[in-house]
């Protein structure tokens, strides 16, 4: 098969475009791990994220959550804490298909505060885990859901 110059340039462009796409997707995979957000029970998810670590229940974490969420599609949460040197904050919803809702990294120049809105499939515990100084702290709160989110 003979390739003329025009065809060659075209091929070259396609090749370089797909190459840059490849490297691009590699970067995003490095930051966002599918395994973190896979659908399995909460315990399995916790065991995978925090292997062989003790998660202490802490009173230093304050959650502002509705006692009853009328609509599981939008559940507002506000997290504040007096724990020092917070590095990461995780939000879990116990009975969601994917228990891990979100994880945040927090720079020291941010106040220990996060506001967000998430979905809940059914009434269950919401667990917030804070990682600080290589230690884990958690706080649980039960939320009753009247109409489930997550495709319900």
């Amino acid at each position: 098969m003979q390739i003329n110059r025009r065809q060659f340039v075209k091929n070259l462009l396609t090749a370089s475009a797909s190459l840059s796409l490849l490297t691009f997707s590699k970067i995003s995979f490095a930051t966002w791990l599918r395994s973190d957000f896979s659908s399995h029970p909460l315990e399995a998810s916790l065991a995978e994220l925090f292997p062989e670590k003790v998660i202490k229940t802490s009173r230093k974490i304050k959650l502002k959550l509705p006692r009853t969420a009328e609509n599981g599609n939008i559940v507002p949460i506000t997290i504040t804490s007096s724990i020092e040197n917070i590095e990461k904050v995780y939000i879990f919803s116990e009975k969601n298909p994917v228990p891990l809702v979100a994880k945040f990294t927090l720079d020291p120049s941010l106040e220990p505060y996060i506001g967000a809105r998430f979905k809940m499939q059914e009434s269950c515990d919401v667990i917030v885990i804070i990682e600080a100084d290589d230690k884990l702290y958690q706080k649980r709160q039960y939320v009753k859901v009247t109409i489930g989110g997550c495709g319900g």
Binding site: D36, T78, P97, V98, V101, K103, A116, R117, C150
Partner: protein, 106 residues
């Protein structure tokens, strides 16, 4: 991409901190819902990462699944921020779409 930005940013300075709130227009599809007319499944489409930067310094990176509500809302508090400082919010979703917006603190 759409002409209009998907990101809205509001900030308010208080004595001890600056509150930054952001609202993003995104469907956050779980992939489990079905089209009510045709019954066909709606493919998953959700934001995976969101970053908050302040004057070029990354303050927070959020990784999320489809458990975050449709049209995601987040708020943060920056300890030290002055008028004229630049806040940037950017996101990237599972289909490779992304958006970014700058905001100047008043």
């Amino acid at each position: 991409m759409a002409n209009r930005s998907t990101i809205k940013i509001r900030s308010k300075r208080f004595a001890d901190y600056t509150l930054v709130r952001t609202l993003i227009a995104h469907s956050m599809e779980t992939g489990k819902r079905k089209n009510s007319d045709s019954g066909e499944p709606i493919p998953a489409h959700f934001i995976q990462t969101l970053t908050l930067t302040h004057n070029g310094k990354r303050l927070s990176e959020c990784q999320m699944g489809f458990g975050i509500a449709k049209n995601p809302f987040f708020s943060f508090k920056i300890k030290q921020a002055n008028a004229g400082d630049k806040i940037t919010i950017s996101w990237q979703d599972n289909l490779g779409l992304s958006d970014s917006k700058d905001h100047i603190i008043q």
